[in-house]
C-alpha cells in the first residue's frame, strides 16, 4: 500500500521537476542576455540534482549520490566562469536568429566581400595567365 502511494508521490514530483526543467530551457533559449541563460542553466542543474535524488529515493539506491556532489560543484564553476567573462552585448545580439535572418545576413556579407574583391583588382592589370605564351 505504502509503495503505491510513494509511487504516486514520485510521479507527481517528477512531473513538477520536468516542468521546471522545461521552463528553464525556455528561458535559456529566450535569453535575452548571457547572464539570463546562466541563471536558467543553474536552475536546470538544480532540477537535475533533484531528479537524481528523486530516483535514488524511489529505488533506494546510494550509488548515484556522488553524482549529486559533482553536479553541485560543476554548476557553480560554470556560472562563475560565464559571469567572469560577461561583456556588454549590443542590443538584439543575444538572441537566436531565425533561418531567414541568417540567410539575409549571409547574402549581405557575401555581397560585401564580392564588392571588396572587385575593388581590389586593378582594371589595368587584369589578364589571363601566361598559359600558352610562355611555356
Amino acid at each position: 500500500m505504502t509503495d503505491t502511494v510513494y509511487l504516486v508521490v514520485v510521479i507527481t514530483a517528477a512531473v513538477l521537476l520536468g516542468a521546471a526543467a522545461t521552463l528553464a530551457v525556455v528561458r535559456a533559449e529566450r535569453g535575452p542576455s548571457m547572464l539570463d541563460r546562466t541563471i536558467a542553466l543553474d536552475v536546470f542543474t538544480t532540477t537535475l540534482v533533484g531528479a537524481i535524488a528523486l530516483e535514488a529515493a524511489f529505488s533506494r539506491r546510494t550509488d548515484t549520490i556522488p553524482l549529486l556532489v559533482v553536479l553541485s560543484l560543476v554548476g557553480f564553476i560554470g556560472s562563475v566562469t560565464i559571469a567572469r567573462f560577461a561583456s556588454v552585448e549590443p542590443e538584439g545580439e543575444g538572441r537566436i536568429r531565425t533561418p531567414e535572418e541568417v540567410a539575409r545576413e549571409d547574402a549581405e556579407r557575401r555581397a560585401a566581400e564580392e564588392g571588396e574583391r572587385d575593388a581590389a583588382t586593378d582594371p589595368d592589370h587584369h589578364g589571363t595567365s601566361a598559359d600558352g605564351e610562355v611555356r
Partner: protein, 149 residues
C-alpha cells in the same frame, strides 16, 4: 511492528519533503520564465538552490536511512551553501557592470553610491561635495570595457 511503523512514518515524511522540494524547483522554473529582469530571475532561481535542495536531500536521506549516504548528502548541501552565494554575487556583479540592472528600480543602491564616491576621489574633488552629480561624468579611467552606467 514498531519498526515497520516508524519506517512507514519516515517514508511518508520523505515523500512530503520530496514533493515540497520539487514544487520549489517548479516555482523557480515559472519565476525564471515570467519575471521581467535579471535580478528578479536570480531571486526566483535561488529558491530551489538552497531550500529546495535541502528538502529533497532530507527526503532522500529519510528514505535511505543510512549514515554514509546522509554524510555525503550533507556534503552536497554544504557545497551548495558555500558556492551558490558566490555564483549569485558574480552574476549580479556582472549584470550591474554590463548595464542589465536598472538602478532606478532599486530600493537600496550601495554600489552606485560607492562607485560615485570612488570616482570623486580619483578625479580629486571633495567627496560629498555633490554626491549625485558625478553620474554624468565620464569614467576617469577611460576603460573601453566599462559599460555606460
Amino acid at each position: 511492528m514498531d519498526g515497520a511503523f516508524w519506517d512507514g512514518v519516515a517514508d511518508v515524511v520523505s515523500a512530503v519533503l520530496l514533493l515540497a522540494g520539487a514544487f520549489l524547483a517548479f516555482a523557480a522554473g515559472v519565476g525564471v520564465v515570467r519575471f521581467p529582469d535579471l535580478l528578479a530571475r536570480m531571486h526566483a532561481a535561488t529558491k530551489p538552490q538552497v531550500l529546495g535542495l535541502i528538502l529533497v536531500l532530507l527526503g532522500l536521506s529519510l528514505r535511505l536511512r543510512s549514515w554514509g549516504a546522509v554524510a555525503t548528502l550533507a556534503l552536497v548541501v554544504i557545497f551548495q551553501l558555500l558556492t551558490s552565494p558566490v555564483a549569485a554575487h558574480m552574476v549580479g556583479r556582472a549584470g550591474y557592470r554590463t548595464g542589465k540592472v536598472q538602478t532606478a528600480h532599486l530600493v537600496v543602491d550601495e554600489l552606485t553610491r560607492d562607485q560615485d564616491a570612488a570616482d570623486l576621489e580619483i578625479v580629486g574633488e571633495h567627496p560629498g561635495d555633490e554626491p549625485g552629480s558625478s553620474r554624468d561624468a565620464s569614467t576617469p579611467s577611460g576603460d573601453p570595457s566599462a559599460p555606460p552606467r
